[in-house]
Amino acid sequence: MPPLLELVDVTARYGPVQALHGVSLTVGEGEIVAVLGANGAGKTTTLRAISNTVRREGEIRFGGKAVGRKGPESVARFGIAHVPEGRGTFAELTVWENLRLGAYSRRGSVKDDFARVLSYFPWIQDRRNQQAGTLSGGEQQMLALARAFMQRPRLLLLDEPSLGLAPVLVTEVFRIVRELNEHEGLTVLVVEQNAHIALQVAQTAYVLEVGRVALSGPSAELQEHESVRRSYLGY
């Protein structure tokens, strides 16, 4: 079976500054893949390159088909949901409106999906009409996940979900990500600075350094790897 997502030698730049120097990675269907690395390594840029939020060169294939360079809107409609840095929630709109926006590009009935979302995030029911900006950090992250789920994507791009969250919430968020992966068959590509939890949840991981893939492999291997342990796991 061909991988769901393939990046071949992708480069990206912000104006005159080159952020990715040729990144190649694959994500298999049903997998959770982590992208690790220090600040500025190009992790976020990689996700942005996939969702066409930043201009890129190189090949990206999704479900075997080439992803055009048209713009984030078309990528979303392709079946890729990107939860960016900062969550991308619409703070001025209500929780329910955020979910409705998630379902924006969907055709057909979405009532079942609302029910499904509520089964994963039951607290949403009581907070439907609350302004999203007044939610706590953890709740906003969950809302972002819920919204992405409403898109019923084949691939979920998650950018640093642990950012700004207390450890308890981080565990909770990743628990839900794993559930969505196992029960809904959602493939996940997660960018994380928290290498610990990322390597626990993901099957495969890539380590980026200065815009290039420095290491890759099954998580178990990387967890034992000398330099990974030193630089990212702290021991």
Binding site: S51, T53, G71, P72, E73, A76, R77, A81, H82, P84, G88, T89, F90, A91, E92, L93, E97, R100, L101, G102, Y104, S105, Q130, Q131, G133, T134, R147, Q151
Partner: protein
Amino acid sequence: MEAVRRLNYRERRANRIGTGVSPAVVIALVAAAIFLLVGSLLSPIFAQQTVAGLAQGAVFASLALALVLIYRATEVINFAQGEMAMATTYFAYQLTLWHVSYWWAFFLTLIIAFFFGAIVQVAIIRPVQRSVIAVVIVTVGMFVLIDGLVTWKWGADLKFMPAPFGNTVYHVGSVAFARQDIGTLVVTIISVVLLWVLFKFTKLGLAMRAAALRPASAALVGVRVNRMLAIGWGLAAVLGAVAGLMTEPTVFLQPTMMQAVLLYAFAAAVLGGLESPAGAVIGGLALGVFLNLVGQYVGFATSELRLPIAFAVLLIVLLVKPHGLFGSKQVRRV
């Protein structure tokens, strides 16, 4: 820790109210409404001026709402909004010349206005979208261009359209209400309500709001942001057409008919807070009533000073509330 939690909660409550409507403003408005009601009951002239002021204000409100729609989405002021409204009104006029009955011409014009606005956004605004000052200049250029085109095609002399509501005057006690004024109010209320329904309850309206608030995030859920902008401009043009068609019975058709209205609409829009549609409507109505009453009762305020007075009011309000009555310091998010 508790203190921090409490502070956050208060901040969140303020956010919950959303558009920065402070209780003081609400109280002031309710007081003003009561004042108007009482005054109208006591003095027929007061009542007449109030209703006439409301009708005028309704026209300001329509155009102000158009301005706010565009500003919310693209952070630019469309200087050509009035001229676009004027041009669409001339189009309606042309339809009546071709023996189309008034109300058919009205609705056809609204449809054409929508496409007019959308096309302007796509062809002229979109290429220069990145530079705010370039957009402003382009709208100024459009102002002049449209003015010239209309004058060339139809001439600068006064033209007349059939009156939409007739010239009847209703008498309630000793107070005279023009049917035209009532009609203007009703039409404006209907268009504002329809717009509200669109934005609050439909998928399209939600997408448009999302595109205006956070275009990058909207794109990530599949909203075609540019298309939403074009639709926004189309709707704004429709509002402008309504404003133009409701102005025509009073000042009749001439190329300069909307220029003063545009200025009052600016004042109303800023008064209400440029990002607040409700503010634009209330600002427009308030301005209309205020100007009429001041003109009636303050001797110094002759007609030449109407415009400066409107702006003086605006400036005073802005000094107290720099973001308008209903505005709040919105930080642009991506």
